[in-house]
Symmetry: C2
Subunit: 203 residues, 2 copies
């Protein structure tokens, strides 16, 4: 079930917006280890008891931040070419992962600590990869890709190097990587690497 949407003017929705904004601000300033229910309540100007009753713990707060991102109006890029779409997507990912304060990076790190944040982070990724399948459908429609291309594998191949370098290897951002990873995936995809069944002559 998706959480209630913010309704401007609704008291519950306004409280949620204040609390989630406070979570983002605290997370950006202090990271996961500095995030407390008390600091969030104080910053939001909301009673502590309300925060505990509705979100239970820090994991619940982080999960709700991620769920709030999940019902937004985000749409995948639509540049007119597969390679352009994947490059634009990768630039968005690189920008998000290197933004200051490091909210997205902190939420990913938190998903290793809190089961609730983990489940919410995975819901968010699942939602984004499903939305991005339109990139692959449109490329098939334009004749750029074989009809039975596996959208998920292609999207993961295109985006995984960004996450690998910035989240796991934690190397400084490589300004050329978003375009390079997009070009690599597009070259492999055009050669049928993600087609089902695999290209003739291949095992």
């Amino acid at each position: 079930m998706s959480p209630p949407r913010r309704r401007p003017g609704g008291r519950t929705a306004r409280t949620r917006a204040q609390v989630l904004d406070a979570v983002l601000a605290e997370l950006g300033e202090r990271g996961y280890d500095g995030l407390t229910m008390e600091a969030v309540a104080a910053r939001a100007g909301v009673h502590r008891a309300t925060v505990y009753r509705r979100w239970e713990d820090v994991g619940g707060l982080l999960a709700d931040v991620l769920d709030a991102a999940n019902d937004d109006a985000w749409q995948p890029p639509d540049t007119g070419s597969l390679r352009g779409d994947l490059a634009a997507l990768n630039h968005e990912i690189q920008d998000a992962l290197t933004a200051q304060p490091p909210i997205v990076a902190a939420l990913i790190a938190a998903s290793f600590r809190s089961e609730k944040a983990d489940r919410a982070q995975r819901r968010l990724w699942e939602d984004r990869y499903i939305r991005c399948e339109s990139i692959v459908r449109q490329a098939i429609g334009r004749g750029e890709l074989p009809p039975h291309t596996d959208a998920r594998r292609l999207l993961i191949a295109a985006t995984a190097p960004l996450y690998h370098q910035l989240v796991l290897l934690r190397t400084p951002p490589d300004p050329g990587l978003p375009d390079h990873a997009a070009r690599t995936a597009a070259i492999a995809a055009s050669a049928g690497a993600f087609a089902e069944p695999p290209p003739v002559g291949d095992t």
Copy 2:
């Protein structure tokens, strides 16, 4: 500087081996949150004071486990083809990330918690990617790849989907992924996706 190698018979080396084995056992059974200096000392049969003096804290223990893995005799696969080598490498990664008890996964998770473990994890990855450059050199030597292929980018493209799915997306292991990600990277590499400068006609 690399840590001292284990010398069978040396008292210091024996203590280190006992303590690191105890860290692995505790980590496998209890995960990072259950890992304590006291439990490691008790399990290893070593004085607590010795463990504190030599490793300082849990992060120091984890960093030493990772450094111990770093000076081992691991060599990259050598199957006679680029695709075969990358597939064998990916199978090793998938096996390590899905092993029970989940030592490697726990060490990666710990790298989000402890700066010492983070630095040691990155040293280990750096070492492994450097060793794996021989896969690319040999493929160039066999004429499978253009001479100026960027080994690091190719290796990351080949291996990143495994880490992305198992460590970040945390999907169940896909038995076909090691071969598929290897084949995808090999197809792109053969088409010059990792060649420097990029293939003619490309921007």
